[in-house]
């Protein structure tokens, strides 16, 4: 795409204007990015990532189909001791905190009135929406009977269960996020009425987003409080588990946003406008500040929880060593890196810190859900088909993400007048 832009092709909205040469873009032009079908194929073939994605889909999609045809026992180990594997361990417990960016930035801009974060707000919202959407898709892959997904809503209600809360909140929050992103769709499709309608309730949406997010991020942690004794005591805390998950979702979401915006700047610069690119360093530092504060809070609460449960003795065991490794890599190292970046005003270092944080949070969730789970039984290595399906669904997420970034005004603005 960069090449087309360099050649001076008139791509939709490339100059932030809704009109090109006196007429408006048609939907087809908008979808094909103003290229002819053959030009579109050209750029598709030229991009090496597309080859990789195609390969993944060619291998992965049949296996994904096989999971529904032959059942979970074919795609996974079908373990009774580890009922949750990678689909939830990665797809739900890692993807949801990384998608906390939506409510974080929504709060910052709409509630706290920090208009200076506006250029990155939509990317944060999109990151949130897609993360949740694909967490639900991962869930659908994992559920034994996915066609019954609406049962907890309408057919048979178990309101006392933590998962009931997760189901309702994720469903509600998904719709909130769709609503929050409707303005972007409205601008792209040139449907001004829709935008006006959403704008009128954006504050209410944002506030309900905070409530829903606090609770379901926390609830994902609280799911593990059902398993005292199964989750290793260092990763388990009945009073604090929800706060571990909620607090860490803050820096997880912010760091993921830094990572994604960095990727956009690097690979999608043709689609970003000056407003996005010129503000990015400033915003990265702002996000880094938020991340480091929540990282420190998280570290403190982790230490308090160990003291509270008098778990110190566990720290000198093998599990304790692994736990300290996770804390050092996923919490302490990011704190040091972020602090250095902030002190010396080095956005590049902050971006690296963000990457470490994202990996650290993934490690923490995988550890809680899989590694430290059944700590006194045995470890289970996921089935190869399970791994491939997870990669395939995640690739689907990346492709969808890119498809939307190419088109909707997320990284750029559409101005009514040139």
């Amino acid at each position: 795409m960069k090449r087309f832009v360099a050649q001076g092709y008139d791509l939709p909205f490339i100059n932030n204007t809704a009109i090109s040469g006196g007429k408006k873009w048609t939907i087809k032009e908008k979808l094909l990015l103003g290229l002819t079908p053959s030009q579109y194929m050209d750029q598709f073939v030229r991009n090496p990532f597309n080859w990789l994605f195609t390969l993944i889909f060619m291998v992965g999609l049949p296996i994904l189909a096989g999971r529904f045809y032959y059942g979970l026992g074919w795609a996974t180990h079908g373990s009774y001791d580890y009922p949750w594997g990678l689909f939830l361990g990665w797809g739900l417990f890692v993807m949801v905190p990384l998608s906390a960016s939506g409510f974080m930035l929504g709060t910052t801009v709409e509630v706290f009135g920090r208009e200076d974060f506006k250029p990155i707000e939509r990317l944060a919202l999109l990151n949130g929406l897609l993360g949740y959407l694909f967490a639900v898709i991962f869930l659908q892959v994992d559920l034994g009977q996915p066609w019954r997904l609406i049962y907890p809503m309408f057919v048979s209600l178990g309101p006392a269960a933590v998962l009931f809360l997760v189901a309702w909140h994720v469903a509600t929050y998904l719709s909130v996020q769709v609503a929050e992103l409707l303005p972007a769709v409205a601008e792209w499709g040139n449907w001004p009425g829709m935008k006006k309608f959403v704008k009128s309730m954006i504050l209410g949406l944002t506030i309900s987003g905070i409530i829903l997010s606090t609770l379901h991020q926390g609830a994902l942690g609280a799911l593990f409080t059902y398993a005292p004794g199964k989750v290793h005591p260092l990763w388990y805390s009945s009073p604090f588990q929800w706060f571990y998950f909620f607090c860490s979702s803050i820096f997880a979401g912010l760091s993921m946003l830094i990572v994604v915006s960095t990727l956009c700047k690097r690979f999608l610069s043709w689609r970003c406008d000056r407003r996005f690119l010129d503000n990015l360093d400033h915003q990265t530092m702002g996000l880094a500040k938020g991340a480091v504060l929540s990282l420190i809070t998280y570290l403190v609460i982790k230490i308090i929880a160990i003291a509270h449960a008098e778990n110190w003795a566990y720290l000198v065991t093998g599990w304790g060593g692994y736990y300290l490794l996770e804390i050092c890599f996923g919490v302490l190292l990011p704190i040091v890196l972020y602090t250095k970046a902030l002190r010396n005003n080095r956005p590049g270092l902050a971006r690296f810190a963000a990457l470490v944080t994202v990996l650290g949070i993934a490690l923490n969730r995988i550890n809680t859900a899989l590694v430290a789970f059944n700590w006194n039984l045995y470890r289970e290595i996921p089935h190869w088909r399970e791994v491939i399906i997870s990669i395939t669904v995640y690739t689907l997420y990346i492709v969808t993400y890119r498809f939307i970034l190419y088109r909707l005004p997320i990284l750029y603005q559409i101005k009514a007048k040139p």
């Binding site: 529904f68 045809y69 059942g71 979970l72 026992g73 996974t76 079908g78 009774y80 001791d81 009922p83 949750w84 709060t107 509630v111 009135g113 920090r114 994992d142 559920l143 034994g144 009977q145 996915p146 019954r148 049962y151 907890p152 057919v155 048979s156 209600l157 178990g158 309101p159 006392a160 269960a161 933590v162 009931f164 809360l165 189901a167 909140h169 509600t172 309730m201 504050l203 209410g204 949406l205 506030i207 309900s208 905070i210 409530i211 829903l212 606090t214 609770l215 926390g218 609830a219 942690g221 799911l223 059902y226 398993a227 005292p228 004794g229 009945s238 009073p239 929800w242 039984l377 045995y378």
Partner: protein, 314 residues
């Protein structure tokens, strides 16, 4: 004036989200306050491990009663006692609701056998974790499961401290949880003991009212000094279970988890459940406050810019 309007619009939004949130939250609030100690006249089974000879008759009886698929190895094949998977002895699976395992306890003459199935907790973890209410604790004492509403999230398997529920992973279209139901629909509901209890040639298991069984168990311990460990496993564990055990060897040596504590599983979750209504009520007000503060500063700045000092004095 503009400021006032903004504020009103905002409060409306805040109120709306508050209402939405409280509608979603009512059920959880109610739960955090109520506690359930078990039905007074519920039935139970007392298992005396010292009597078990490991004949697996109970396994066969269960298989027949519940119309389970044929086992991989026949019920008179004792080589199953040597089966080890992932370092673990046999457990319940989609093919069997109950298993007997053999333990060689140092210092004890001959092996000890332990029958294992759903313990039918007074306050079951599976039940409290289920978001479609598929589980029911019946007044007779059984924990039964309704496969018609099960979505297959398998949280009950996470929540069960005894690793009991299994899942029919092999079925692509109707995978369901499989576990012992204490023969509820065929026997217990009519006052009859479960099939395994009746089939046992050694009378290892005693069927009766749970509270009577507790008395019986303690009597047996007292009347046979030195024979039993002075503890009925299941009397208090995780809030008490309908199936309880007497053993002549330490429970930890025959596969029992002795570190479960007496709290029912749901108590560990209550700490979070009490947070829910707090967030639902405090958050809207708190963030409304933040918003008003942020807006106020902005408005002040704007009005400072707009008005000259002389205007303000006037």
């Amino acid at each position: 004036m503009k400021n006032l309007l903004d504020r009103r619009k905002f409060l409306k939004g805040g109120l709306a989200s508050g209402v939405l949130a409280s509608v979603l939250g009512t059920g959880k609030k109610a739960f955090a306050e109520h506690s359930f100690g078990g039905y007074p006249n519920s039935m139970g089974v007392l298992v005396d491990l010292s009597k078990c000879i490991g004949c697996r008759t109970c396994e066969a009886a269960c298989n027949k009663e519940q119309e389970m698929p044929a086992p991989d190895k026949p019920f008179d094949d004792m080589s199953v006692f040597d089966e080890i998977r992932h370092g673990q002895k046999r457990r319940t699976s989609e093919k069997t609701h109950t298993v007997v395992n053999r333990y060689d306890v140092p210092g004890h003459d001959g092996p000890v056998f332990r029958k294992f199935q759903c313990n039918h907790c007074n306050e079951p973890g599976c039940l409290s974790s289920c978001f479609v209410n598929a589980y029911t604790k019946t007044p007779e004492g059984a924990v039964v499961y309704n496969e018609k509403v099960c979505v297959g999230c398998r949280t009950c398997m996470i929540a069960c401290p005894f690793y009991v529920p299994a899942y029919k992973y092999s079925s692509p279209i109707n995978p369901v949880i499989t576990k012992c139901k204490m023969c509820y629909d065929t026997r217990l509901k009519n006052g009859r003991p479960p099939a395994c209890v009746e089939a046992c040639p050694q009378e290892v298991m005693t069927f009766g009212k749970r509270r009577d069984l507790i008395k019986l168990g303690h009597e047996r311990i007292q009347k046979n000094p030195g024979k039993y460990i002075d503890h009925i496993y299941g009397e208090k564990e995780v809030g008490g279970t309908a199936w309880m055990y007497l053993s002549s060897v330490p429970f930890a040596e025959v596969g029992f988890n002795t570190e479960l504590g007496d709290q029912p599983i749901v108590n560990y979750v209550k700490e979070f459940l009490t947070v829910v209504p707090m967030v639902l009520t405090i958050w809207p007000a708190l963030f409304t406050g933040f918003h008003l503060l942020a807006k106020r500063k902005e408005n002040q700045k704007e009005s400072q810019k707009a008005t000259t000092p002389s205007d303000r004095n006037a």
